[in-house]
Symmetry: C2
Subunit: 418 residues, 2 copies
């Protein structure tokens, strides 16, 4: 175990994400694929569309046969039959004729455009009058015009959104290789912690809040909660529980009691876990300073502060990015980091150089925009978080923000399914 103790900045910690490989991959059917991350690149096995398709109801034509037609001087085409929806059109378009076709119908050979039904009129069984010219390719989608066969469609590391699932379905791909979701164990320790349903709550004890909040948070990035357990805060019990949890999970979140003793215990555990390497022992952040991150083989052990607000803050800002990385998410969209609400700070928020502060805020309307007010109350109050819409970040090298500053508010809702 590397045991020299260094307090890291949040930026240091987030850079460590790069040093963890994605988990192994598994094949899932397309219905289960939304929100998952592709583990292999996808190449188009066929063309989309598969055939030249009409995009409008009308007549399939050769565009050049329509040139010059107008309301005042309609062109005339010979009626050449009808293509039915879903049918393999064996008709061939003769020069100077038009074949009736529905939206989505297969263009007959020889046709290169569709003239909309609104711009035509049937004079008799034999003749179609056309009031407008069409250009080649107009109102049709040619075979492979959307996705040509053999094209590189998606890279590994791509998050699959509904439209991406749609493209895969269009290509006839009904299962895809995706990275496995991380399995996460949540252990709570601290002699003062009792199960939530304990009634009445004995004086001096508090309920096990972290098990619920951490499970809810990791769900937001698609990780899977495995074992959730309270463990006594003696070294033996902790070592035994951590060993087993690390055998069965990819990530262990150990939320310690708030006292110094239990924090030290978390570091001591590492001596008993073969191959454990202490990466972070304390983060220059408020709240959440007593955070620990260790690597145990390919697995991660986080020692989180026992305090629910601190644990939740560290989980959202530091743990979740690692859980996304384990799922192989390699996309770096240009808007990343910009997707926060612009607001004006209503009062001064002090901070300290060298420390990142996460400050919960309430949003209100301010003219056309939004105002952000830091939530009052002691940092230990969970009601400070339930009342807030999001949080602002005061970066490491900024010593507080003045009232009137433009800030970016990271919405608590934004990770949610709405």
């Amino acid at each position: 175990m590397t045991s020299f103790l260094t307090v890291k900045t949040t930026e240091d910690v987030l850079r460590m994400v790069e040093s963890f490989e994605p988990l192994d991959s598994e094949r899932v059917d397309l219905y289960s694929a939304p929100g998952r991350v592709l583990a292999d690149a996808i190449t188009a096995p066929e063309s989309v569309p598969h055939f030249n398709r009409a995009l409008m109801d009308g007549f399939a034509v050769r565009a050049r046969d329509t040139f010059g037609a107008s309301e005042s001087q309609p062109g005339l085409l010979q009626f050449g039959g009808e293509v039915r929806m879903g049918e393999d059109s064996r008709l061939e378009l003769a020069s100077g004729s038009g074949i009736a076709i529905p939206t989505g119908g297969m263009l007959p050979a020889g046709a290169d455009a569709v003239i909309m039904i609104e711009h035509t009129s049937r004079l008799d069984g034999e003749t179609i009058e056309i009031m407008k010219p069409v250009a080649p390719g107009e109102n049709v989608l040619m075979a492979g015009e959307d996705i040509p066969c053999g094209q590189a469609v998606f890279s590994a590391g791509k998050l699959l959104r509904p439209q991406d699932i749609g493209a895969l379905a269009a290509l006839g791909i009904d299962s895809v290789p995706v990275y496995r979701r991380p399995r996460v164990a949540i252990l709570s320790t601290g002699d003062e912690i009792v199960p939530v349903p304990t009634m009445p709550l004995p004086p001096g004890r508090i309920r096990d809040i972290n098990s619920f909040t951490l499970a809810a948070q990791i769900m937001e990035v698609g990780a899977v909660t495995g074992t959730v357990e309270r463990v006594g805060d003696d070294l033996d019990s902790l070592v035994r529980a951590c060993r087993q949890a690390l055998e069965e999970h990819d990530v262990l979140l150990l939320s310690g009691g708030s006292s110094v003793g239990v924090r030290d215990l978390t570091v001591s555990i590492l001596d008993f876990l073969p191959g454990a390497e202490l990466l972070v022992h304390g983060v220059a952040v408020r709240p959440g300073k007593p955070t620990i991150l260790a690597r145990v083989g390919a697995k991660l052990l986080w020692g989180l502060p026992g305090h629910p607000i601190s644990a939740m803050t560290i989980c959202r800002t530091l743990v979740l990015p690692f859980l996304s990385a384990l799922q192989g998410l390699r996309e770096k969209p240009v808007w990343k980091g910009l997707e926060a609400e612009q607001a004006v700070l209503t009062r001064r928020v002090p901070s300290v150089h060298g420390r990142t502060d996460y400050v919960p805020v309430v949003l209100s309307k301010e003219g056309e925009g939004l105002a952000a007010t830091p939530v009052f109350g002691k940092s230990a109050m969970i009601s400070a978080l339930t009342k807030s819409d999001g949080y602002i970040i005061i970066p490491t090298h900024v010593e507080g923000l003045d009232a009137g500053s433009a800030v970016k508010v990271h919405l608590f809702h934004s990770n949610f399914l709405r």
Copy 2:
């Protein structure tokens, strides 16, 4: 059936959300509650914290005994014993004394503040030197200071986020009443539609993309996909399939073939569904004009365009808000509608007065901000959506936007679990 046909604006359609009641409620345990919507108000059954808690390691004191203490003129207190973590402190603090206490420990009777250990030194077994005064309430959280017993904590209609789950856990509430998630049936019709795994794809046929994209989209707001089925596009089969789907689900998404015939069929079905009321027959929108919404008793039948891009656009912009409303979501956060990326449009986008346009865009960096470029290609191309980061809305009463306009981009990612 009300059969007069009126094309509605998107605003008209979205206003109809109000006329649907939330589904019935069910009780779920707290682990299953994140992302669900409360069906009843919650009142605090006890106080949080339950007892006066120390927020720092140090000594529990009477604040007034510390007044005047400083580095140069330390105050002296008598050592009055120690409170252990998680224990019901039966100690009583005598005037002029201090009791050692860990963070999270229960304050002894008579104490109203904690002086941090860093600002004290133990002179001997009997005496503590203090270098700083503390104010009453400093470094302690008094019983009920976070959430007082009897307080109205959450209203019905609230979306439960991780911190809200935390507050419920803190209150000893381990199950909550939430609105039921809507069950949604997805039927595809159109003779040209074949199942996705069909190999090789016969000429003239296309794969059933909508079943996959619609299922992926409704998942984003927590709705549950039930029956997914292809149905022949004759009236008999459709009526039979729709009846059964409406019996077993709250919402039916019927994605029709793209041709006019199948669209008319969807309206005809309503004549055979007792109590059906046509609410929307066509929306002034692009893409997605041939959209139908009917009410069948308390249930909803959507007739969606067969075209995957149109169906996806209507699902995201019109169907999903109804699915959220059925889950009882009544929160209207001030930032609602503002949570979109600011960007500058790189080229002119034409539209028509009286119609809402949804235009997919790609984002790129532009100085400190973002530029939004409309995605090229025919609207029928699914690759236009897979390439885009989000979409812009050209509202009903705007006739297009000029290059250089400031636009709000609704990110496709924002509904996702990242």
